[in-house]
C-alpha cells in the first residue's frame, strides 16, 4: 500500500536528498564572489550535488509510491543518539575541563552506559588507558593536550 504523504517525505533518503540540496545551494552563493576559474570546480560539484540529489529524491519517491519500504537507519535510535551525544560531550569536556579529567570520566561512563558493568574492570581499564596515554604521549613524546578553557589555561 502506498505511504501517506507525510511518511513519504520523512523517508531517510528523501530527507538526505533535501538536506544536500539545501546545503549545496547555501554553499553555491559564495561562489559568485570568486573569480570564474576559481569557482569552476566547486560550482560544478555543487551543481552536480543538487542535480544528483534531485535524482535521488525522485527515485526514492517513486519507490515510496510503489509501496517499497524505506531503508531503516538503525534498530536502536536511542543508543545511537546516546553514543553521538556522549562523544560530542567528551570533545566539549576535553575543550573546557581538560583532556585527562574528561578521559578518566568518559572511558568508564561510556562503557557503563552501554552495558559493561564491572567496577573493577572499569577501574583497571581506565587506569591502564590513561596511564599509557600519559606515558607515551605526555612523558615520551612531550605532546600537550588541552588543559581546559574553564580553568583559564
Amino acid at each position: 500500500m502506498p505511504e501517506s504523504r507525510n511518511s513519504r517525505l520523512t523517508r531517510p533518503e528523501t530527507l538526505t536528498a533535501l538536506g544536500i540540496i539545501v546545503v549545496a545551494v547555501g554553499f553555491l552563493i559564495p561562489t559568485y564572489d570568486l573569480r570564474a576559474i576559481s569557482a569552476l570546480l566547486p560550482a560544478a560539484m555543487l551543481v552536480g550535488l543538487i542535480v544528483l540529489s534531485v535524482a535521488l529524491l525522485v527515485s526514492d519517491q517513486r519507490k515510496a509510491s510503489m509501496g517499497e519500504e524505506a531503508q531503516q537507519m538503525t534498530k536502536s535510535p536511542k543508543r545511537v543518539i546516546g553514543a553521538f551525544m556522549l562523544i560530542v560531550a567528551y570533545a566539549l569536556a576535553t575543550d573546557y575541563i581538560g583532556f585527562y579529567l574528561s578521559t578518566a570520566v568518559t572511558i568508564p561512563l561510556v562503557a557503563w552506559v552501554f552495558g559493561y558493568r564491572s567496577p573493577v574492570g572499569l577501574l583497571i581499564a581506565t587506569v591502564i588507558v590513561v596511564g599509557t596515554i600519559w606515558a607515551i604521549f605526555d612523558f615520551g613524546m612531550s605532546q600537550d593536550f588541552p588543559t581546559g578553557r574553564f580553568w583559564g589555561r
Binding site: L41, P42, A83, W112, M141
Partner: protein, 497 residues
C-alpha cells in the same frame, strides 16, 4: 628498474622498521579479530599517530595492520560464524562447520598459512608490476594527469557496484571538500567562512578518522555482541609445523592468488569479491564438491588466500597512478600524503628507498603472519573475542580524539572530525560508498591543479584536453567504465528474459 628494489632492502631490516611491521601484524590480527573493526578503521586511527615517525616505520605499521587484519577476520569467522572483516564472509562457509567438529584450531591454521601465501604472492605482484607501470606514467603531462584523476574517480564510482547516483554524490562531496581553503593559484579563500584553521584546506586525516573510525564505534556501542565465551583451550590446536604436512592445497593457493591479485588491481572490487570468486572456482574444480560447506579445509584455504592476495596488489594502481583499488588502499594513500609522499610516478623517482621498502614490508608482513598467527598466538587471539565491546568503543573514541588533536594541536579539528563522522554514519547507513569521498579529496585538488595548468598551456582552449593519444585513450577508458556496467546489466537482463 629493479635495482632500487634491492637497494631498499637493508633499510627494511633496521630494527625500528622491522619492529613496526611486527607490531603492525599483531595489531592487525587483533583488529581483524574484533567483529565491527576493520583494517580501514585501524589505519585511519593510526595515521595521525605516525606524523612524528620515520616514513618506513609508519608504512611498516600500515602494511602489517593490513596483512594482519585480513587474517584476523578469519578468527571470529571460524569460531562464531561472524566475519571479523567483510572479506572473511566466505571463510565462514567451511570454517565454522570445522570448528563445530572440534577442528577450529586446524581451520585457523589453514587460514593463517593461506593468508600468508596470498600475501606473499600479492607482495611479489606489487614488486614486479608497479615499477614498469610507473615508468609509463612518467610520460604524462597535465592533461593526461587530469584524465587519470577523472578515470580513477569514475572507476571507483561505477565499478564499486551499488547505486551510481549515490557513488557520484559521494565523489562530488569529496571533490568539493578538496577545494575548501586557499585557491592554489590566486590565493583567495574558498568556503573558509573566516576560519583561519581552514585556510590550508581540510587535512585528509580528519576526514579519514571521521568517515572510517566513528561509524564503527557507533556500531560497537549500538549492538553489543554476545559471544557466549570462547574457550580457546577447546580449539584442538596443535603446532603449526605439525599441521603443515596436512595442507596440500597448492592448486587452490595458486588459483586463489591469481584471482586475488587481479581483483586487487581492479578499482572498487575488494577482498570479499576475491574470496567468493576463489571459493566458487575451488569448489567447482573439486573432486568432492559435496563436502564443501560442511567443513572442507580447502574452502577455508580458497577464501583466505584470495582475500590476502588482494592486499598489496590493490596498491599497484594506487602507488603508480594514485587510483586505489580498495577502501584500505585509499586510506593508505592518505597515510602516504601525511608523510609528503604524493602517489604517482614521481614517488618512484624521488623516494625509491621508501616506496620499495614499503613493498618489502608487505612481503615480510605476510611471512610474519605464520610466525605470529601460529598455534599459541591463535589461541590468545581467539580470547580477544571476549573483550567487552563497550569498553573497546570508549577506548577507540579516546584514540580518535588524541590522533586528530595531535595533527595541529587544536580542538577545531576534533569538532570537524565529529562533523565528518556524523556525515559518514548517515552515508554508511544509507549505503553511500565511502571510498569515492576519500578519492575525491585526494584527486580533487590534483585534478583541478592539472586542469588549470593544461588550460593555461592551451591559452584557455579546452580542446587541449583532447589533443593527444594518451588523453583520448584515458577518455575512452573513462567512458567504458561509466557505460560498461549499464551495458552488462542490460545484456544480463535481456539474456534472462
Amino acid at each position: 628498474m629493479y635495482a632500487d628494489l634491492l637497494h631498499a632492502l637493508p633499510d627494511v631490516f633496521a630494527w625500528t622498521n622491522f619492529a613496526a611491521v611486527v607490531i603492525g601484524v599483531i595489531a592487525g590480527i587483533v583488529v581483524g579479530a574484533m567483529p565491527g573493526l576493520s583494517a580501514t578503521m585501524a589505519i585511519s586511527v593510526l595515521v595521525p599517530f605516525t606524523f612524528g615517525l620515520e616514513p618506513l616505520v609508519a608504512l611498516g605499521l600500515m602494511a602489517g595492520i593490513y596483512n594482519g587484519a585480513m587474517y584476523g577476520g578469519a578468527i571470529p569467522a571460524v569460531l562464531l560464524r561472524i566475519p571479523g572483516t567483510p572479506a572473511a564472509v566466505a571463510t565462514t562457509f567451511d570454517g565454522y562447520p570445522m570448528a563445530q567438529k572440534g577442528e577450529g584450531g586446524f581451520a585457523l591454521q589453514v587460514a593463517v598459512v593461506s593468508s600468508a601465501i596470498g600475501g606473499i604472492a600479492s607482495a611479489f605482484a606489487l614488486m614486479l608490476l608497479a615499477p614498469p607501470l610507473s615508468k609509463v606514467t612518467l610520460l604524462f603531462g597535465p592533461s593526461e594527469v587530469f584524465w587519470v584523476a577523472v578515470f580513477g574517480l569514475a572507476s571507483i564510482i561505477f565499478l564499486l557496484g551499488g547505486n551510481p547516483i549515490k557513488g557520484l554524490i559521494s565523489a562530488c562531496f569529496g571533490v568539493f571538500v578538496s577545494v575548501i581553503g586557499s585557491d592554489p593559484i590566486y590565493g583567495n579563500d574558498r568556503f573558509t567562512f573566516g576560519q583561519l584553521e581552514m585556510l590550508d584546506g581540510i587535512n585528509i586525516v580528519i576526514l579519514l578518522v571521521g568517515l572510517y573510525a566513528l561509524p564503527p564505534v557507533i556500531d560497537l556501542l549500538e549492538t553489543p555482541l554476545k559471544t557466549d565465551g570462547i574457550n580457546s583451550s577447546k580449539l584442538g590446536t596443535e603446532s603449526i609445523w605439525k599441521a603443515l604436512p596436512r595442507m596440500n592445497y597448492w592448486k587452490t593457493w595458486i588459483r586463489g592468488s591469481f584471482i586475488g591479485i587481479w581483483i586487487g588491481i581492479l578499482p572498487g572490487a575488494g577482498g570479499s569479491m576475491a574470496a567468493f570468486m576463489s571459493y566458487n572456482e575451488a569448489r567447482r574444480t573439486s573432486k568432492h564438491p559435496e563436502t564443501w560447506g560442511e567443513g572442507e579445509p580447502e574452502g577455508v584455504a580458497a577464501a583466505e588466500v584470495a582475500n590476502n592476495a588482494d592486499t598489496a596488489s590493490a596498491l599497484i594502481p594506487a602507488l603508480t597512478l594514485g587510483i586505489p583499488g580498495t577502501a584500505v588502499a585509499a586510506v593508505m594513500l592518505g597515510g602516504l600524503l601525511v608523510h609528503g609522499l604524493q602517489p604517482g610516478p614521481m614517488l618512484f623517482r624521488d623516494n625509491p628507498d621508501i616506496v620499495f621498502g614499503f613493498m618489502w614490508q608487505f612481503l615480510f608482513g605476510a611471512i610474519l603472519l605464520v610466525l605470529l598467527g601460529g598455534s599459541l598466538a591463535t589461541n590468545s587471539f581467539a580470547r580477544l573475542l571476549n573483550l567487552p565491546r563497550p569498553l573497546l568503543g570508549s577506548v577507540i573514541i579516546v584514540l580518535m580524539l588524541i590522533g586528530v588533536y595531535s595533527i595541529h594541536g587544536r580542538m577545531f579539528d576534533v569538532y570537524l572530525m565529529l562533523g565528518f563522522g556524523a556525515i559518514g554514519w548517515v552515508m554508511d547507513r544509507l549505503k553511500f560508498p565511502l571510498p569515492p569521498v576519500v578519492l575525491g579529496l585526494i584527486l580533487g585538488g590534483f585534478a583541478e591543479e592539472n586542469l588549470r595548468l593544461a588550460l593555461r598551456i592551451g591559452r584557455g582552449d579546452p580542446m587541449i584536453l583532447f589533443q593527444n593519444t594518451t588523453s583520448l585513450i584515458l577518455v575512452a577508458l573513462t567512458v567504458a567504465v561509466i557505460i560498461g556496467p549499464t551495458l552488462k546489466r542490460r545484456f544480463i537482463d535481456s539474456s534472462k528474459s
